[in-house]
Amino acid sequence: MGAEKYLRIEGVGMSFGTFNALSRIDLAARKGEFVSLIGHSGCGKSTLLNLVAGLLKPTSGAIILAEREVRGPGPDRGVVFQNHSLLPWLTCYGNVALAVERVFSDGVKERTQAALALVGLSHARDRFPHQISGGMKQRVGIARALAMEPKVLLLDEPFGALDALTRATLQDELMRIVERTGSTVVMVTHDVDEAVLLSDRVVMMTNGPAARIGEVLEVKLARPRQRIALASDARFVSLRTRVLKFLYEKQLVTT
């Protein structure tokens, strides 16, 4: 059954009042695929992610995950927000456990600890969000999402608020984690390098209003990928150039 089309976005349109944000988006993701949505700000890529998360209801069309229509938010989709969204009154452990408890009735402690170990934060389990760095917070966010063993991991500009060095470290770490867990991922980003480096497919969106999918780029680079080796790799550079051309030649925003 639907391993080829594990996640299906079928004819999805989204309007906010009279504002038409998305018009007829069709997209499918394989099980275990890493898909990035890239576009200029305001193009509706986060809206699309929120639709998959179930935080918004599409005006038209449907989203089907593992043969079931998405009708609202649920723990089968793990969401990582840009601004980490950890609860400040809970420790790292508490934040992850809150998600684990929602899905699993037994082995909460073991699962929570395993999730923290996965993102390399076992030592920080009893610390509160304000006691750890921005990068660590984002890792806890990822641990929280992954601990639920979701069918799909939804990342909304997960590293957008981090400095460049931390971002690179976390990107490498995310690649390692995704490879190990075989997760299906949809990531919203505006970082071209990040999109090409991490993804199996980069979905480029046109500018809103009524944003559509402009182009889809297959990234057939072998994994595991090494950022330094790829930086001078001709295929990587040409893929990167294609995304840049789309964004800055075809979809140039006049602001």
Binding site: G54, P73, L87, P88, H130
Partner: protein, 292 residues
Amino acid sequence: MSAVPVPLRSTAAHPAAEVLSRNIEAKTAGTGYRRTAAPDWIVRATAMLLGLLLFGLLWQVVAKQGGRIPEPAMVWQAALRIFADPFYSKGPNDQGIGWNVLRSLERVGIGFGMAAAVGIPLGFMLGRWRFLSDMAAPVVALLRPVSPLAWLPIGLLLFKAANPAAIYVIFICSLWPMIINTAVGVRQVPQDYLNVARVLNLPEWKVFTKILFPAVLPYMITGVRLSIGVAWLVIVAAEMLTGGVGIGFWVWDEWNNLKVEHIIIAIITIGVVGLALEQALVLLARRFSYGC
């Protein structure tokens, strides 16, 4: 609801005090003030002592001018006598200052407790449902600026006794800050946290215990702090009017006996108790302010 109290997240007890202490910090950090060799806390303690001393001196000077104001030394002697046996009881109208303070605190406690029991859930409801909030807005706006003492006759009418009427006044004046602060707190819960609740699809009771309640707690404590502050102000006036045992009544009684030194002792006692209440709640607030 125009007044939007800010939840307490700093160590300063009062918004004005906060500004003041921030200024002091800014100045000592800058070049405006000469740096002293002594540690900061010694300098501050010296300044505080000096302030108290100056206050005492001013008092002494005013007392020397004649009139009925007793000198500090006289008040001190009277205080030693009073606090030698604060818990004596010679009938309903002659009890030690300790009993008077405790009875006042008891009234504040009961009135405030009932106000919290009503005001906090009501605040949650007003914060959660826009329609309810709009419904309550004109009534709250109209009644909030009314002096709590204006409610006293209504209380006497309803309860036909002085003690419940005083408690009722405390209830009324404690109610508004708690309703308003809780409602503001609920409305200020960051959308991010509510989104977490939504993507995790948390059950309603868990949304309340894990997200809403902790997020609103600092605002609620601010409401409690304001309520207790107002209640302690009001109980003195209410007791002056209702009588019975209580620090407010005691002040009035001593005025009738023309024992001015006792009135001054009562003023200082009221101040100390009020300060202690305030500080206790500041400590509580600090315990629940998450550094986020």
